[in-house]
Symmetry: D2
Subunit: 305 residues, 4 copies
């Protein structure tokens, strides 16, 4: 049997050369102030075991990793209908490009670019009775951690830097692809992004993607097996911005990254993984994180291809 | 001497074949409810004479014609500095395109596309003590009509259809090309667009563009001779959306149109003109209005070329 | 053990509802004249077994499936250096778009869009002594069929419809991303596209992608294990034009399609597959072919995710 | 009466500060080898007088100035029909952009961007019996100089740098907007661009644009008065690449520039002008040439506005 603990413990050394090579997100103070040399990783296996290394229990800003949870929850409620309002194709453009949105008449290419996540947020606003609470509850229950909260400072910083997202939301609205008001959608969207979770929280909370949609702690499904597969597929093809091709090759796993330096990954049937290290490469994905995943896949031989 | 009165009176017949060929703007109720067959035209000559025909004294929604007045007022206060934040080149794209804005890093191509007019609005917010009142006062004084008001119904309708403009404003803000808040800029912008003026009001109010910038009723300059020339040049090259080339050829005058069906035109040294008829051609300019201007130019031989 | 023969034989019935739903490529006579109801499929397993059904031994125009073979051969000779001149990211635009090429200064997004394949063709012209013969020999040897030829009629038809590709090639040349003359590159490119092969030929010839790069009939490697993985990854993310996201989800296998109606697919470690049916869906991929692959994956449970 | 001779003679001093501020075109050796400090200007008045200063009788490569002559000749033969295949609107993009051509399905925005000039060249190939000779004869007769020739070295250099234009031509062909072969069109196009003419030749040859289309030396019309006006209008709005707005303001005359450093301008009813100085500004127009025109207009008060 593979000794995951030992492999995990070898990773800090493996990624050491990449520390200092990237650049932290600095557009909001709360991200800029995180120590650059943080590194943590957590596994949550399909059969319920957890493995951690480094700063895996320290909370960080999940940012775009939230898009995995919002998409899952939206599909839970609205099923495949969400794909009438958002596509499933890679974007070929930076994650917040308005150009493509104009070209495609207000239908975002996929749910992991910001425009697509705003549409998914709008879907959730129609499905949830108490959006913030229900979403928080969803993530808490999945991770088995009732102490997950949103970071109020991050939330307010998002507002101070909201104009690109506000442009996207208004643009979607002008194409009638938002049902709720722009401010409701943005408010809930920023809330999602400002959740603070640890690697262990995220690994546990996304374990259902490795188990055909089964809830990690309850005898129910978060999403159907087919939906889990669709989400994993989207992570594979669209989860890492304009670097999805490189990720698919070097890591070979469905991944979703956030500018807070976190990356969540799935090995279908085996486990979910979350790695965190704040320094980003040129395309906005954690550089040490990517190399940790790459090393892990090589050492475990668990790549999809 | 040219008999302007007689020529004006021949125009309703000249444009009759074009009535019913275009399509009224219908995105807001106040525009959709205007009778389609309205037609009016007014001249205001450099030496102070007025000539009118048809519905020239009926107020209509000036919409983008306001961009001539806001640009003039902004140049009055801020001079050539406004062109550090907005270009002077034709756009080659529909008037509210985000694509070009992305390509050019948040600097709108010219002050007559919506993005450019939003920047000019932002400039004015910095120059005016009481923006709404000061702007209204400016237009009233120029036209010598203290009864000009904004149309509250139109103003509220603009808000209901604000999302494309809100996207533009947020996008400009994300490139740091707005100093004021998005909502302040939009509020003032919609206010300008919802002014209700007659052909005669507009012709008089723009007479300074035909007189090297001289105020029509006061012994002062609205703008310098060079600024008047720049504004006329911009009207010639950018004043009629994506149809500026056709206008320059068929009409041969600096023009600025609005979706309310009005077009203001300048014959430098001679007169200013305003024509109004609600039905628009495919590119958003009044179809009978364009043909009235064309016929007028042919009959008076006053084209620029 | 899975009874592949039986599963294959069930496919014609499974795809029957999709016959007549698509549209044959008709831009060249040789493609337009192929009977629309053709359907064939072939498997070539990692351990050397072949399974076929329907018209699997009838030759058809491989068209863009050739891009898999040219990329493999280019990587065989030039290794990872080819990725200095062509990217590995999905394109997000139709396969022959010049727009993206302009935006990215002459570096095609990936080797499977036409622009990228032209660059790969240029690489091969530098590596091969006798390009046409060497390439034909490569494909013949891989498939174990010395009777593979190019279709002269198709070749000449490609020339008659060459202008979009000629525009791409000239554009690449203007960015100095072609070393050879435009006419040499186009000539060799059209030659590759006009090869005529059967499903069985193609399945065999691509078996190395399922076997870590091992040559099917010789004790050598076509490409390294890592290169095989890279090619499979690129097929997964970029192999089916602007429909790669849908393919990744519905089929879940690395695929490369051609407008002749063929699709080649890899199940790493297990087998290579080729399916052929001429009617294309809206994005240019064989519609019955896609559904055959989908049904096969479902019945064998061999999807990557 | 204005003393044109005196004004002309004051210009070298007026433009002196701008010499050394621009950058010669260096993409072909024949342009790169021209001394940077050349400056010449010629007027050809409507009543048949010529005025020259500096290097006004030295031949230079007319490059895109040829587009004025080809458009005029095409309109002479084909009339307004040419505008079914090419637009009349400013482009808002660099002169050789493929992007806009893709967006507008193969119809170039205007006849002065390269794509549009290629279409005009194709029109001429249908109208002229012996294209090269007929065109040369046209220009010679207009300028009254039978010694005008094409520069063979320039012509061959154009071929060596043809790929951007070849991409445009192939792209136009793929949209069926060329009737002749790409190579015929390019060959004739490069021929036109490589004509060598002096300021005096060009001023005389374009005098018809200032005289409602009248041939300068014959009792016939080159184009109709309306066509002359259309050509002047196009020069005003589209004649100086992406700087037409600035030119319209600072110079205020219909202009067409070439990368050889020449600019031809029209003052309708008054005269045609040609200025030449090799150093180009950032947008590809002669910097001293632009300032010479600006100074001339200021001193003569002959601007259009």
């Amino acid at each position: 049997m593979t000794d995951y603990k030992k492999i995990l413990e070898s990773l800090p050394e493996a990624v050491a050369p990449y520390l200092g090579q990237g650049k932290k997100a600095d557009y909001i103070p709360a991200l800029a102030s995180v120590p650059a040399d943080k590194f943590g990783m957590a596994l949550s296996t399909a059969d319920g075991c957890d493995y951690v290394v480094g700063d895996a229990n320290e909370g960080f800003s999940i940012q775009s990793i939230s898009k995995v949870f919002t998409l899952s929850l939206a599909m839970h409620y609205a099923g495949e209908k969400v794909f009438e309002r958002v596509g499933v194709e890679p974007s070929g453009n930076p994650f917040n490009s308005l150009l493509q949105l104009e070209h495609e008449r207000g239908v975002p290419r996929n749910p992991f670019i910001n425009a697509g996540a705003l549409v998914i947020t709008d879907v959730l606003l129609s499905c949830l009775r108490s959006p913030r609470n229900d979403f928080l509850d969803f993530v808490r229950t999945l991770s088995g951690n009732m102490d997950i909260h949103y970071d109020e400072q991050v939330f307010h910083s998002e507002y101070d830097n909201c104009h690109r997202n506000a442009a996207l939301a208004n643009y979607l609205k002008s194409f009638n692809n938002l049902e709720h008001s722009v401010s409701e959608v943005l408010d809930f969207y920023f809330y999602q992004c400002s959740l603070k979770m640890s690697c262990q929280d995220i690994a546990r909370a996304s374990r259902f993607l490795a188990t055909d949609g089964k809830h990690p702690f309850r005898d129910e499904r978060v999403v159907s097996p087919l939906q889990a597969r669709r989400i994993n597929t989207l992570m594979m093809t669209c989860g890492t911005y304009d670097e999805a091709g490189e990720f698919a090759f070097h890591v070979g796993l469905p991944c979703k990254s956030g500018v807070g330096g976190g990356i969540v990954a799935t090995i279908p049937g085996e486990m979910s993984i979350c790695v965190w290290s704040p320094e980003l490469g040129k395309k906005g994905n954690s550089l040490p994180g990517m190399h940790a995943l790459k090393a892990f896949v090589e050492k475990t031989d668990l790549a999809v291809f």
